[in-house]
């Protein structure tokens, strides 16, 4: 009897659990850490549909007769239960355990400098360019707020690079300091979801002292230059000030 009830309720429980996890992810804002904006509304629609399906299922169906459940699977109730648990437990566990962004371990596995050729970078759009121009026009000494990816995009455009070379900029990102190289400030770029996120970084020099930890969110203000090494141009920031920063609403940058 209990087996029949469990077997009957399992689909509704699993679908409701997925819907709950999806809705919680949206309401809590965690979805910003998982999916690019384009895909977020799909999750909301899916959550609503799953709730509807759960209700419809309970309304339209009833526990199967003992004979049906007995003949349905050669491997028995335990295997059936296992199937439903595989659908239930990993998604709940992942929703609890998933951190805000990737750690430096994954950063290394995904190549911190891999995005040097990934153009066009997201974020350096007409709005951000107009914003930067307004700030420079009003006060050339004021720090221009930019993203890590903006500077990489600029480094591939000689005209824009020239306009920014030597400017004071302000940017927020995650700190990384490996032995044998300059400290870096990086962000992950997310095209569809966090699983495809790739790091993009700028090198830091000058006043970077402060005992900063890897993967700590920092706000850096400094002068940007675009030195060339063996023909490869990469942005470099001579840091004037550096301070801890709040994690941005969008920890990943998206197109």
């Amino acid at each position: 009897m209990i087996a029949r009830q469990l077997s009957f309720l399992a689909p509704a429980v699993v679908m409701s659990a997925w819907a709950t996890v999806m809705l919680h992810t949206i309401v809590s804002g965690h979805i910003n850490r998982l999916l690019s904006p384009m895909f977020r509304s799909y999750v909301l629609v899916a959550a609503i549909l799953l709730v509807l399906l759960s209700v419809l299922y309970l309304f339209l169906y009833e526990p199967a007769a003992e004979t049906s459940t007995a003949t349905l699977s050669p491997t028995g109730l335990l295997r059936q239960l296992g199937r439903w648990l595989v659908l239930l437990l990993p998604i709940v566990a992942a929703s609890v355990l998933a951190p805000a962004t990737f750690s430096s371990t994954t950063l290394q596995n995904r190549q911190i400098d891999s995005t040097a050729g990934a153009l066009p970078m997201p974020t350096w759009n007409s709005t951000s360019q107009a914003n930067a121009k307004n700030i420079i026009d009003s006060d050339p000494n004021q720090a221009v707020p930019v993203e890590v990816t903006d500077l990489i995009t600029l480094s591939h455009s000689p005209d824009q690079m020239k306009a920014f070379d030597g400017r004071k900029v302000r940017l927020v990102g995650l700190f990384n300091n490996q032995s044998g190289s300059n400290p870096k400030l990086y962000r992950f770029i997310m095209w569809c979801c966090a699983a495809d996120a790739q790091p993009a970084s700028v090198a830091l020099g000058g006043n970077t002292q402060g005992g900063w930890k890897n993967d700590q969110w920092l706000e850096v203000t400094g002068t940007v230059t675009f030195p060339s090494t063996l023909g490869h141009v990469a942005p470099y920031i001579d840091v004037e000030s550096i301070k801890p920063a709040q994690e941005p609403d969008e920890p990943f940058l998206s197109p």
């Binding site: 689909p11 999916l35 419809l56 009833e62 595989v86 495809d196």
Partner: protein, 325 residues
């Protein structure tokens, strides 16, 4: 031979700098959250097909010849593009509705591979790196590999390809033919909602049936996409022989959607054009995640055969391109 087996500095690059399990959880969560809505969409379309499209109608639409069917399936992949996750329940439904498994499977492979959105994203990703060449190579090589696979598929009998519960026209009870034999649907008596019941049952059965394989595939994809050190492939990515292999291997491990993969591989500066094309052709056809998704409908032996043939054909084509002067 010295060209093929250059002196790479592989030992200094570890396969992984370690695995951060919370990062694996983040990757896994992102993959299933991205895939589940599309899987649900596929299940809903599958349910609509089940209720509103009689098997005879579908069969009448399709060419009688299997060879023509393969071309029709490839054309359908172009006209009705679907992502990998969304295609799976629809293909299973089409097979149960009597569409030749070879034709349905060709469509399943063609929908993400020849997807116009994938071509558009390729243009965007490579717009500073000869985008039209990349689109031509991606589309052309995908077409040729699909043709090769399609003509292999038409020679197979359905029972060689499909799991017992997926085979068309089985005389066994409908319950056993479902992709989710763990789900028992007993309609509540006295409700005059036959169509709604059939639709709801089909959607739930298809969604939960394929979702299981998406979860398993996403776990494998999350593990490798976060734990595998991509620097390992950098030294060989430009090699004539090893470059295409590196591209194929990376595609298998990263398990990206066909509309995203171009943005990722465009950033791999150490990879040659053939290596990047190998990545873009092989990935939408099969990877670690898709392997598990395909297992929801097909026999393991068939999936292994498909895997080997898809990757071998991709490798040969990209190697030939790599060798051209």
């Amino acid at each position: 031979m010295t060209v093929f087996f250059a002196d790479f500095d592989l030992p200094s690059t570890p396969v992984s700098t370690g695995i951060a399990w919370p990062d694996v959880a983040l990757s896994f969560f992102a993959i299933v959250l991205e895939g589940a809505p599309f899987l649900l969409l596929g299940a809903i379309i599958s349910g609509l097909v089940d209720v509103f499209l009689p098997a005879n109608t579908i069969r009448n639409w399709l060419p009688k010849s299997k060879t023509q069917g393969v071309f029709a399936a490839m054309g359908a992949g172009l006209i009705f593009p679907l992502c990998e996750c969304g295609a799976m329940p629809i293909v299973q439904r089409l097979i149960r509705k009597g569409v030749t498994p070879a034709v349905a499977t060709t469509y399943m492979l063609a929908a993400p591979a020849l997807n116009p959105l994938a071509m558009f994203s390729t243009y965007l990703a490579f717009r500073n790196q000869d985008p039209w060449l990349m689109i031509a190579l991606r589309f052309g090589f995908s077409f040729l590999v699909l043709l090769f696979l399609g003509f292999w598929l038409v020679r197979l009998r359905p029972e060689e390809m499909l799991r017992a519960e997926t085979i068309t026209g089985s005389p066994r009870p409908a319950q056993e033919m479902s992709p989710n034999p763990g789900l028992v649907l007993a309609p509540r008596p006295g409700l005059s909602l036959g169509g709604v019941q059939q639709f709801t049952g089909a959607v739930i059965r298809d969604f939960t049936g394929v979702l299981l394989f998406l979860v398993i595939g996403a776990a494998a994809a999350a593990l490798f996409s976060t734990g595998f050190n991509r620097n390992l492939l950098a030294p060989i990515g430009h090699d004539i022989f090893w470059g295409p292999l590196a591209g194929i291997l990376l595609a298998q491990l990263l398990c990206l959607c066909s509309t995203t993969d171009a943005f990722i591989i465009a950033a791999f500066v150490p990879f040659s054009v053939p290596a990047k094309i190998a990545f873009l052709v092989a990935g939408p056809l099969i990877d670690l995640k898709l392997y598990w998704l395909y297992r929801s409908a097909f026999k393991p032996k068939f999936v292994h055969g498909l895997w080997i043939r898809a990757l071998a054909a991709t490798f040969l084509l990209t190697l030939l391109y790599s060798l051209h002067p």
